[in-house]
């Protein structure tokens, strides 16, 4: 066993240890055992960072790969299959190591942060336990080398998410949200499970590498449609976990959980697991499946962005922005920008965690006020939070010099290239929606910054009734027991608002500093020059040969088509036509050749397309971001346009966005109502019809017996009554025999014997 494998097992099991210790002993440990959680996660991070250092910095090999497995279940010699073993194992490659470091780092920071944020909570110790099991499951997903174990950890993160969303389980809304999250995820999971089943039924293995080998060897005997279906179904797992359309509804509600949880699970790590998983199975996705994924991502990104514009809850805005950003990543994978999508995953994890923790700090400071309408002017009171929050916002919006800029542009560039390669038309919708969402992202984040940090405090504007209601609610939730004495008053002034303590500030600073471009690439404009893009390169597809039946892949050699694509681009209405001339594409050709050399034509084209569109994307997205921020400034800072009046003017649109496109209502009206009605109906059917039949049969039998009895009584007995007199008299005589004296009976018995003798002798005589 390689030492890195051993280390990774240690890293995997450490959080589990933390969970076990804390769930059983948190009440017996000093400080409810928070130091255990923090300490263990710190250790785990240190080990992960060592692994990261070894692999990324020292080895620096794109093809780095370590695998180890053991037999988990031994099926013996299975008929028709041969010896069958279900293996579990660990797969370590570059992306694993990066994810490992990222997850443990953010988890560690969130643990640290929680010691401040959750202080004084009734179930303080249990909170750290739950964080521990979450981290364990998440690391499990990252380290899995097969579909079965990833499914196991997949559901386990679902469980920890369930537990953490419902952490304030006394709140009705929290329990609703946790149930919704679990069930929605389950819907996605069954899709994923079916996808796994399709692959297993073909190859009788769950292991990635074996499945890929078999696929590449052309051993998939079902139709091409099934292969596409497998890809899409596996992607459904991602749809659920990464909150893509149409299963995104749980994520905003999941903000009922404590804010550190939102940062860790519902922004940085767990929701990104979906993207990670799709990246893992990327090579078996057929072009058709990729199209579905790309459209799903683009629509999600757009939809979530439109919703985020009108939300008032600070965490909800961030939640929808998370959905939107996840849409980007999925879009990126769909258009073949494997490394760009994962890059965005990483950068997004840092700045979104920073944003959530920042919002947590604000909420903490504002005494659990989450509505942005009643905030304002916080920059003076909370300079650290302000600075980090703003920088993370810039990264999210995608301004140059931030990490978000590089990753987002890489995705958008690939989207443009993809649209070219696929032949334009409907496929231009994808980059179009991407850019539009970029603009809206800039807008709503600008709005948020402005509403929260600038202007004057608007706390006093809050309607009194609602205020008290909220307060009572918070008190009920049991998380108002923080250390501040001046907690329950001073709502009118900001004298309760102050900067948070160091244990909450430090994570913000660390995360914000990790959003600087220099961490990832020396060139602020091109992430491809950085270490990440070098270490994480698009893998060779294994389903190319199946695509042979697929018309799209019947492309000739790459170069002519490149030119063709460029020409199509030139004639298209897109503004990038001039910015991406054919020679430029040719010039990039050499650079692209440094990356992986694809045997699959389509992948090659996509890689080239992405390169070709690089600067186009930068320019367009920069413009979009500037527009977005300017709009935000115009509306909220300079107040050239009154948001209130505008919202009235475009009321239907506003309501559509404000009510989240009515997804919840739709599901309520269809799926949930349908399920409940079916349940009631079937239950009625069971009680009345099925059981009714059973009881009916019983009653029928009984009635038949009664009827029989009646027949007997009236008809047969009628006949019998005719002889009743005779019987009666005989009975009267015979009754005398019933004396109760044994000896009479003996006499009778002997009479019978004697009678038999007589009969016998008469027989003898005659």
């Amino acid at each position: 066993m390689h030492s890195l494998i051993q280390l990774s097992i240690v890293v995997l099991l450490l959080p589990l240890l933390s969970f076990v210790i804390l769930i059983f002993f948190n009440k017996r440990l000093p400080r409810r055992g928070d130091f255990v959680g923090v300490g263990i996660l710190g250790t785990a991070f240190a080990i992960s960072f060592y692994m990261f250092w070894t692999v990324v910095v020292q080895t620096y090999d794109p093809a780095f790969r370590l695998a180890w497995d053991f037999t988990w279940i031994d099926f013996g010699n299975v008929p028709n299959v041969g010896p069958l073993k279900i293996k579990m194992g660990i797969l370590i490659d570059n992306i694993t190591v990066i994810m490992l470091a990222m997850v443990t780092l953010i988890s560690f920071l969130v643990h640290l942060y929680s010691t401040g944020y959750m202080a004084g909570d009734k179930h303080y110790g249990r909170f750290f336990a739950y964080l521990g099991i979450f981290t364990f499951s998440m690391l499990g997903i990252v380290l899995s080398d097969n579909l079965f174990s990833i499914y196991i950890f997949w559901e386990l993160v679902g469980l920890s998410s369930y537990l953490l969303i419902g952490f304030f389980f006394e709140k009705q809304s929290a329990t609703d949200a946790q149930k919704k999250a679990f069930l929605t995820n389950r819907v996605g999971d069954i899709g994923m499970w079916l996808g796994i089943l399709i692959l297993y039924s073909q190859f009788h293995t769950f292991s990635y590498s074996e499945i890929f080998e078999n696929l590449a060897a052309g051993k998939f005997t079902m139709s091409y449609g099934w292969l596409t279906a497998a890809g899409i179904l596996l992607f459904m797992g991602c749809v659920g976990k990464s909150a893509q359309l149409p299963l995104h509804i749980w994520l905003p509600d999941a903000m009922e959980g404590p804010t550190p949880v939102s940062a860790l699970i519902h922004a940085a790590t767990m929701v990104a697991a979906g993207v990670y998983f799709v990246a893992r199975i990327f090579v078996l996705l057929t072009p058709d499946a990729l199209h579905v994924i790309a459209f799903c991502g683009a629509l999600t990104a757009f939809m979530a962005a439109t919703i985020a514009i009108t939300q008032n809850d600070i965490k909800r805005v961030l939640a929808y922005s998370t959905v939107s950003q996840l849409g980007y990543m999925v879009l990126g994978l769909g258009v073949g920008a494997y490394s760009a999508a994962l890059f965005h995953l990483l950068t997004h994890a840092f700045f979104k965690a920073c944003l959530f923790l920042g919002s947590g700090a604000i909420i903490h400071a504002m005494h659990h006020e989450q509505d942005m309408r009643w905030m304002g002017g916080l920059r003076k009171h909370m300079p650290w939070t302000f600075a980090t929050f703003t920088f993370a916002t810039l990264a999210l919006a995608g301004l140059p010099l931030t990490s978000g800029f590089m990753s987002k542009d890489a995705i958008l560039a690939s989207a443009i290239g993809f649209a070219h390669v696929e032949g334009g038309g409907i496929f231009y919708v994808i980059p179009f929606l991407g850019f539009l969402s970029a603009m809206m992202t800039a807008f709503y984040m600008g709005r948020q910054i402005w509403l929260v940090f600038f202007g004057e405090s608007r706390t006093h504007l809050k309607p009194a009734e609602e205020h008290h209601g909220h307060d009572a609610h918070a008190a009920h939730g049991g998380h108002d027991a923080h250390g501040n004495d001046d907690h329950g008053h001073g709502h009118d002034e900001h004298h309760g608002v102050h900067e948070v303590a160091w244990n909450m500030r430090a994570p913000l600073v660390i995360l914000a500093s990790l959003s600087v471009f220099a961490v990832f690439s020396p060139d602020p404009l091109d992430g491809a020059k950085g270490w990440f893009m070098h270490m994480v390169q698009t893998p060779q597809t294994v389903v190319g040969r199946y695509g042979a039946e697929h018309p799209k892949a019947e492309a000739p050699v790459a170069a002519p088509l490149m030119a063709e694509a460029a020409q199509t681009g030139a004639s298209a209405t897109m503004t990038d036509a001039t910015a991406a001339p054919a020679p430029a594409a040719a010039g990039e050709h050499a650079e692209a050749a440094e990356g992986p050399v694809f045997t699959d034509e389509r992948q090659m084209e996509l890689a080239h397309g992405a390169h070709a569109a690089h600067y186009t994307a930068i320019i367009i997205s920069s413009i979009m971001v500037v527009i977005g921020i300017s709009l935000a400034l115009i509306v909220y800072a300079f107040r050239f346009i009154d948001p209130e009046r505008t919202s009235v003017a475009i009321r239907p649109l506003y309501l559509f966005s404000f009510n989240k496109w009515y997804w919840d209502e739709m599901y309520d009206a269809t799926v949930i109502r349908f399920s409940m009605m079916t349940a009631k109906m079937l239950s009625w059917f069971d009680a009345k019809v099925v059981d009714g039949i059973v009881n009916g049969v019983a009653i029928m039998t009984r009635n038949f017996a009664f009827a029989n009895g009646s027949f007997d009584k009236y008809v047969v007995d009628g006949l019998v009554n005719f002889t009743a007199f005779f019987v009666n008299t005989t009975g009267a005589v015979l009754r005398k025999l019933q004396t109760g004296k044994v000896q009479t009976y003996v006499v009778l018995a002997l009479l019978a014997v004697f009678g038999y003798f007589v009969y016998y002798f008469t027989r003898l005589i005659y």
């Binding site: 019933q738 004396t739 109760g740 004296k741 044994v742 000896q743 003996v746 006499v747 002997l750």
Partner: protein, 105 residues
């Protein structure tokens, strides 16, 4: 005369028939439970004589063994039956079986 002087199977069977008939008569007609028991003993003896007679003229041991067990069982039966009779006596203060007709109900 030859028939009377040579003791054969029928002689024994006749004796046993008499014992059986007397036993049955006692069981049928006597009111005293003890006498009924005596009748039962007579019946058993009749059976024993039959067994032994057949056994003798058949040459096997089955009848002998059977009669042995009959005696054993008779002993047990007598003990239990007497115990029951005594119980009946305690309950009804009589051993007159004709007055014990609760089975009638």
């Amino acid at each position: 005369m030859e028939y009377l002087t040579t003791i054969g199977l029928n002689h024994y069977l006749t004796i046993s028939a008499f014992l059986l008939a007397f036993g049955l008569f006692a069981v049928m007609t006597r009111k005293n439970a003890i006498v009924i028991l005596m009748g039962v003993e007579l019946i058993l003896n009749a059976a024993n004589i039959n067994f032994l007679a057949f056994s003798k003229f058949n040459g096997g041991m089955g009848g002998v063994m059977f009669s042995l067990f009959v005696i054993v069982l008779a002993a047990a039966e007598a003990a239990i039956a007497l115990a029951i009779v005594i119980n009946i006596f305690k309950l009804f203060r009589t051993v007159d079986v004709s007055s014990i007709d609760t089975m009638k109900e």
